[in-house]
Chain length 426, copies 2
Amino acid sequence: MATYREMSKQELEALLCDLQKEYEGYKAKGLKLDLSRGKPDKAQLELSMPMLDVLSAADVLAGEDGTDARNYGVLDGLPEAKKLMAQILELAPEQVFVGGASSLNLMHDCMGLGFLHGYPGGNGGWYKEGKVKFLCPAPGYDRHFSVTEHFGIELVSVPMTGEGPDMAEVERLVADPAVKGIWCVPKYQNPLGLTFSDEVVRAFARLSPAAGDFRIFWDNAYNVHDLYPGEGDQLLNLMDELKATGKEDMVLMFSSTSKITFAGSGISAIGCSAANMAWVKKHFGFQIIGYDKVNMLRHVKFLPDIAAVKSHMVKHAQLLRPKFEAVRNTLEDNLGETGVASWTNPRGGYFVSLDILEGCAVRTIALCKEAGVVMTGAGAPFPYGKDPEDKNIRIAPSFAPLGEVKQAAALLCLCAKIACVEKLLG
Amino acid sequence: MATYREMSKQELEALLCDLQKEYEGYKAKGLKLDLSRGKPDKAQLELSMPMLDVLSAADVLAGEDGTDARNYGVLDGLPEAKKLMAQILELAPEQVFVGGASSLNLMHDCMGLGFLHGYPGGNGGWYKEGKVKFLCPAPGYDRHFSVTEHFGIELVSVPMTGEGPDMAEVERLVADPAVKGIWCVPKYQNPLGLTFSDEVVRAFARLSPAAGDFRIFWDNAYNVHDLYPGEGDQLLNLMDELKATGKEDMVLMFSSTSKITFAGSGISAIGCSAANMAWVKKHFGFQIIGYDKVNMLRHVKFLPDIAAVKSHMVKHAQLLRPKFEAVRNTLEDNLGETGVASWTNPRGGYFVSLDILEGCAVRTIALCKEAGVVMTGAGAPFPYGKDPEDKNIRIAPSFAPLGEVKQAAALLCLCAKIACVEKLLG
């Protein structure tokens, strides 16, 4: 079969005619499907229901150091919660600050801390320095970018390569002292699903930014979220690499149990060096006395260590894998020979990323919507919501039931084909 | 008996000699007591242990509108949680935004929102306006003041009268457009324990600040925290009064269940007008997807309505009342005839406030410490931690066991007497 680019105008017109007929057929079905939401589905949430029974009225709610989990206090979390989150982040417990139900909130607060008071090594609050900037590898996670924009910080796009952010570009950009940090999802990146290569991690560890308080916001949201347990991607430990270069203060790591236990009712964490930890504790102490320690205790009783976490994540993988494979097979079957599409085959995380012909993403997503399939807005994974090439589409297969994922993916392929043929026809 | 001021130098010297002997006796005991912490005690926390059993693995964790409480979403809280917190705040459910385990965190975030983006009616972020100021009725809650100071906002002290803040002074100060708001704990105020009079609440409702986005931060932390249930103080509903004056946007109310269920593992709330609610939702949406809805459901199942809350609070009152009465009796017995001390007799809340001779608070608290009794630091309830008259001492009777409260209060009285006699002797 010829790729779309090899077809004549007449062939494309005939193809478009067929595709439109098929599309009208879909539209007549009145579908209501959704591939936009990076949320666990009900079956995944059921996996953690036993957590509701690990604490009861008969228990003594004391932490291992005797702290009454029901009362005020302990800003950085119960010791056992620090241990658990340290294992998830691959850090030492003393490098971990345990927060509430949202790691996004911790990241926002860390951005706020920079904005208000800066970080050790800098000149104080960024807002006093006039225009400051943050690097945004794109496509990336839209909420990272919008948090940053909310502080009035300028978003600077950095291209993603197959191994992570374009580090030559990062090195060039951090020579600007107004550049205060960079966002990263180093493992199973949102939305590409790729894991940063060892070389990229080492390049981060060698980085010499002009800003003394430049910080890598390392959102390791998917570190234990393998789709193929035992065969998952391996991410080099950035903290170890930074130890080697003597730049441990350059990173703030984040994680949460939102996609391990309950989304929005889990526990979250910041991982960082001793100097950053002292800074975070000093400043967070103004905003809160301590996060929910009863929920920390509940998590630790349900998931006592990393082995328990990993066997729990195997169950998630069993539920998620068929959906990811359905998306992959549908893309392969429908777009494989068109020559106008490429996509990622992640081995973990929550997203598949589809690239189609330049200038066709907005049109594709509009066609999807018209036929009853909600996709993440075109451009969402880019700074300021604008995909410069209008070609990227984020697919989130986790939330919908498997049958709906298949149907929605097939319709997405159809819409992509229509948009691409239209484009080629000019 | 003569008051201290009526005594001759010789009488005072003899008295001091006796007091010092008594003090040495206490010191020899090697006491370790603490009246500094406004925390519930273990018996109070036990009251809420049944809350750990209201949700189990067998339950369906759906909100009344079908929302899966275990998944992402619903920024302003489950409808049933909004209803519960609305009853506690005496507002309509749509005026309530339900947050996480800390109302201090919500207040910090609302201060941050003002700092970054201002509020409706203003000129945008306060940080762009240069120096801005916040009114701090004093003595007040130290954490309110320190949150404000953390943003670099200037603290302006306002004297407290027996009815609330000195409203003539407040009216005078809000003519300055740099004054962006005022902190209030309107019921059983921390540390005075008094409730704002109707006249004071009405004066707030009539306030015409120069700053278009001036906000009253109305921390109604103790609205259901009566020590004498059924005979508690009555606080006029500020939102109703503001409705009458057409100034509903002027207030942000706060509350939490921290001193109802578990301290630091409860749910919290912002109460505000429709315009403020839209503003808060728009901006908080950048920092978090939603707060812990499983914990909201847990609270609503344990405390379905205000009647349940009130009968639960009766049990708290039974535990707290003897401690407050012990403090009152000890103060009366020991300082009643000295003429150098006065104190509050709160009918709710968590604090008793003791005023002694000017210039004697620091010395009293140092003497307490030396004999093994920890008190809240002198000056803590004042802006920048400085009591201009050095006379105020905050007493927190809730956390220590009753016997220790009695002993600590007695020793506090002794130390106060020593400090005052020393002062009078020059």
